[in-house]
Assembly symmetry: C2
Homo-oligomer: 190 residues x 2
DNA sequence: CTAAGTGTTATGACCAAGTGCTAATCTGAA
DNA sequence: TTCAGATTAGCACTTGGTCATAACACTTAG
């Protein structure tokens, strides 16, 4: 008996977590036991067959790709926009956004929300950030809902360079503020 | 004939892109044709069978999860660090990082690289960005390799607040510069 | 020593979702 | 009418399994 049954089943779980693509035959070879033994092990550990494993991995993938189109592309959900005037977005901070060591949100996520909002509020084919000044007022943690408000400085709107002020709050306390100097190419349409 | 063959095959490709989990039988029902017709269509379009489709979707997933642990956590690969002095990182811009409309990299990616580097160069349990001023000098595009250099202003090191200057270049041309005022909690160790 | 229990292996019937091949049928246009 | 292209059907075979049943090997308790 190479490895005792219990140990082998523990290893089996790890093995398939790492590589779910193995057939029973592969696994049998790996542990130098018969295919039937592998099947019994899977039965006991409630590990589904190869095809079912792939199905679940694939469906996780589908969920994630849908999610990433929302999460990564927009970075904060934009709630309302009044073009060339003001806009509002919310961003729910999760454990994905914080430093492991201290649980505080990485600055670039707050910046990303604010910057995306500054781009969105100017309805321009080519709105680019040229300069910006940021103030990280208070640390933000997982679970916080950050509400960002962007306001376009009207007196700058005639120019190609426009200033957008963004203030982000958690429960009505300012956690971040930024001033974004944006460059626009096309004139105001519509 | 419900839909002409060519049209049906076009739709088939879209259909499976959306939902790769359909069996030939499902597809046949969807188009009101026989299973054999579906098989011929798949053959012509070189679309693999269900099991192979899931296999490839699942393997994409495995690649992505590995990738995201590297990409999202570190944001630019840190090449060298001299603690409390200077650091260097590179970040390869891909089509994932640019605006679809104009192909220019989103500002927050450049910020993320610079900000991460500013955090990394101060070897502190709790190095937080307090304020920063950014200059987006030139647009960055997919394919560009951005090299960011962070330099710690030595005269600020005694304080809890330290200034880190970051300059990012593409082929030796400055595309971004930022001044990061960082807050540190623990005293200089080691 | 023998019987019982656990773990392992073997065997055969069956299933889902295919591939590959051959053959028959349908259909529209020349 | 004829003929090609599109469609459908049938059958043998493949993979990677399930399920049930049986036969060993080895240890241990009576």
């Amino acid at each position: 008996m190479k490895t005792p049954k219990k140990e082998r089943q523990r290893l089996l779980i790890n093995l398939l977590e790492e590589d779910p693509f193995l057939t029973d035959e592969d696994i049998a070879a790996h542990f130098s036991v018969s295919v039937q033994t592998v099947r019994l092990d899977r039965l006991e550990c409630r590990i589904p067959e190869l095809r079912e494993r792939l199905k679940s991995v694939a469906s996780q993938h589908m969920q994630k790709t849908v999610k990433s189109l929302q999460t990564e592309e927009i970075f904060g959900e934009i709630i309302e926009v009044e073009l060339d005037d003001k806009a509002l977005s919310i961003f729910d901070v999760t454990s994905d956004h914080v430093f492991m060591r201290n649980g505080i949100a990485r600055g670039h996520h707050l910046f990303a929300q604010a910057n995306s909002l500054a781009v969105a509020v100017l309805d321009d084919d080519l709105a680019l950030t040229v300069r910006s000044t940021l103030h990280f007022e208070k640390p933000v943690r997982a679970g916080d809902r950050v509400v960002a408000r962007a306001v376009v400085r009207q007196e700058t709107l005639k120019n190609k360079s426009t200033v957008v002020d963004v203030i982000s709050k958690v429960e009505n306390v300012t956690v971040f503020s930024g001033e974004f100097l944006m460059y626009r190419t096309t004139k105001k349409g519509r």
